[in-house]
Amino acid sequence: MAALLLSPTLLVLGLVVGYPLLAAFRESLYRGGDALDADGFMVSGDRFVGLDNYTEALGSRFWTAFGNTSFFTFTTVAIEVVVGTAMALVMHKVIRGRGLVRASILVPWAIPTAVSGLLWRWIFQSDGVANEVLATDLLWTSDRWAAKIAVIIADTWKTAPFVGLLVLAGLQLIPNEVNEAARLDGAGAWQRLWRVTLPLVKPALLVAVLFRLLDALRMFDLPFVLVGPQKGSVETLSMLAWSEANQVRYGPAAAYSVILFLYVVVIAFVFVKMLGADLLGDKRKKGASA
């Protein structure tokens, strides 16, 4: 009976998740025509190439992109968690103009990423605001280490508010009595933060981190718009898939996408297992029934 009731959900999931996945996997085992016939026309039709697309994908460009993707993911998520939590703590304490503060903190999150990429490109151009304010002469959008920093800054600006909001929601669930009790027991502000607030806000924080991890691993538009395609210092796995697809090589593009998908799955799995992110609310249920 339960299966029957769930069947519409499963059907929709199969259509919008299962089918594209399988189709992408199938695509990654084929290669489109790339030879010309005697008249100069491309021989059409896909041919099965097994895992060739995968073995050829694992070149130096792939490992650079893999390294960038991982580097961006771990640095941006780490910074965003710290900044976002700080923002949440501030928002939690604000008494007057609460709504206004929260709404304004959400603005970066509401701006489409491609547009914020453009905004930051203006800021980071050679005669832009960033160089003016920092009194530097850095070429942020050229293919160097500065480009990595530019992407990290822009991404933090954009997504720290998201972490902040999720953590704020967690903070508001903590009953005031807990904090008061800790205070009566003589705990200082620092102790209350580390021993009371953060442990209680951990479930919300973990969900935020997981969301951000999965999002950051697929990072595409920000480095693409801010710095540009084909730049080794910021090229991510998604950008690699895009550049193959743009040259009408869907097989290799699909192979990159499948590799990225597997990477995301592994990271998500490890994260949920190791840190025990309580995504499904199992613990709370157990706690209630106990």
Binding site: L36, F41, S126, D137, T141, P229, Q230, N246
Partner: protein, 423 residues
């Protein structure tokens, strides 16, 4: 009830799915009737007016404009998507000149019978670039060549004439930059960010040194002294400060800003920036203080790289007879004259450049005509995109000081041979 609804939706999906799959067959595609024209957005509103004029004369074969996304990447992606799904949404499409070979080889555009088009009077190079294996696949709509912009006020004060060679340009810089009012100015800049513009600037440098990136059969020619001289001109420019170091981030707009803020003396760019830099609303600090000449070369005037867009008939269009006639109309001399009066895009027929009214309006036309006449198209390769990426990768590394010019050119020679051979 719910199941009936679901069945209904599924049935509707199946039916519409069938409706969009085009019936194959050679006879059915050459029809007439209302068509669409997928093109780049025209900020001046001239193209819609030209289309209206066509529509008034052909009420049963009206043309509807569909805007393609801005930027070559978006435009390309959109066109490929339509071709991959064999959609007949687009009848006449606008492609970049270097895509001609690829679109022809993939059978995304149809061959155009030469006798149906009035091909006399076009610039030779863009027309040649519209061929693939001896057959015509598109008609040049806009063209363009790089020109050298220079500051007339500063050159005049230093008493130097516009340079024809790289050596003359450097000598002119030495004199002008010694002037007290030229303090802080750099000598020269083109477009050197890692994008299509870098391929253009590189092949322009190689061409201006007397070489070529690929010969007529598509074979790379980068193991030559002239290719080395061309790349060296750019590389030493960056090393000795002739080119400002932040030019490694320049695309067209960044370069234009640098020139119109008075930061560079000589600047390589397209014609479109001319009216913008002459604006007297305060956005430009050089209106009336600059002029153009042909790009300089190693031992005489240089060879520019062709830009431009072509019009082609989508292979999936069912009204190809109308589509061909509309292209003929859009590229006729009368239409091009009217078009040039409304917008500054460089047209593809030489007669337009002789029009006195237009010459008064666009003073750079004689120089532009000379530049286009001597210009060379980018390599005609089916895998042009891969070739351009390879060029960008190597040249960018040389300009950034990460590889030597010899190393980069020998790598490129090998890569481009593979790319040309694979196709």
């Amino acid at each position: 009830m719910k199941r009936a609804l679901a069945m209904g939706i599924a049935a509707a999906l199946v039916v519409t799915g069938c409706g969009t799959s085009a019936p194959e067959g050679s006879g059915g595609n050459d029809g007439r009737g209302p068509i669409t024209f997928a093109t780049l957005k025209d900020g001046t509103g001239t193209v819609p007016k030209l289309v209206e004029a066509w529509n008034a004369k052909h009420p049963d074969q009206t043309v509807r404009i569909i805007d393609l996304p801005e930027g070559a990447d978006g435009q390309r992606q959109q066109l490929i998507q339509q071709a991959q799904t064999k959609s007949d949404t687009y009848d006449v499409i606008t492609i970049d000149l270097p895509w001609n070979a690829e679109f022809a080889a993939r059978r995304w555009v149809t061959e155009l019978p030469r006798e149906q088009f009035d091909l006399d009077g076009f610039f030779a190079a863009p027309l040649k670039g519209s061929d693939y294996r001896g057959k015509l696949y598109s008609i040049p709509h806009f063209t363009g060549a790089g020109m050298l912009y220079y500051r007339t006020d500063l050159l005049g004060r230093a008493g130097v004439t516009p340079p024809k060679t790289w050596a003359e340009m450097k000598a002119a810089c030495a004199k002008v930059l010694a002037l007290p009012e030229a303090a802080g100015i750099s000598c020269y800049a083109g477009q050197y960010d890692k994008y299509e513009g870098l391929t253009v600037n590189f092949s322009e440098a190689v061409g201006s040194a007397g070489g070529e990136v690929t010969d007529d059969s598509g074979k790379p020619k980068l193991d030559t002294p002239s290719a080395k001289a061309g790349l060296d001109f750019l590389a030493t420019g960056f090393r000795d400060g002739t080119v400002p170091s932040d030019a490694i981030t320049y695309k067209e707009e960044e370069g234009r800003r640098a020139f119109q803020q008075g930061k560079v003396l000589f600047h390589r760019n397209w014609a479109y920036i001319h009216p913008l830099m002459n604006a007297t609303d305060g956005s430009s600090s050089v209106p009336g203080k600059f002029a153009v000449t042909v790009v300089p070369g190693a031992s005489g005037p240089g060879v520019s790289t062709l830009g431009g867009n072509n019009l082609a008939v989508s292979a999936f269009s069912k009204k190809q007879a109308t589509a061909r006639e509309f292209i003929k109309y859009m590229t006729s001399l009368d239409t091009q004259r009217a078009h040039a009066k409304g917008s500054a895009y460089p047209m593809t027929r030489t007669a337009v450049y002789q029009d006195p009214e237009l010459r008064a309006k666009y003073p750079y036309l004689p120089v532009l005509q000379e530049a286009i006449s001597n210009a060379r198209p980018r390599p005609t390769l089916v895998r042009y995109g891969d070739a351009s990426s390879a060029i960008q990768e190597q040249v960018y590394a040389v300009l950034g000081g990460k590889t030597s010019a010899e190393q980069a050119l020998s790598t490129l020679q090998r890569q481009l041979s593979e790319i040309a051979q694979g196709t």
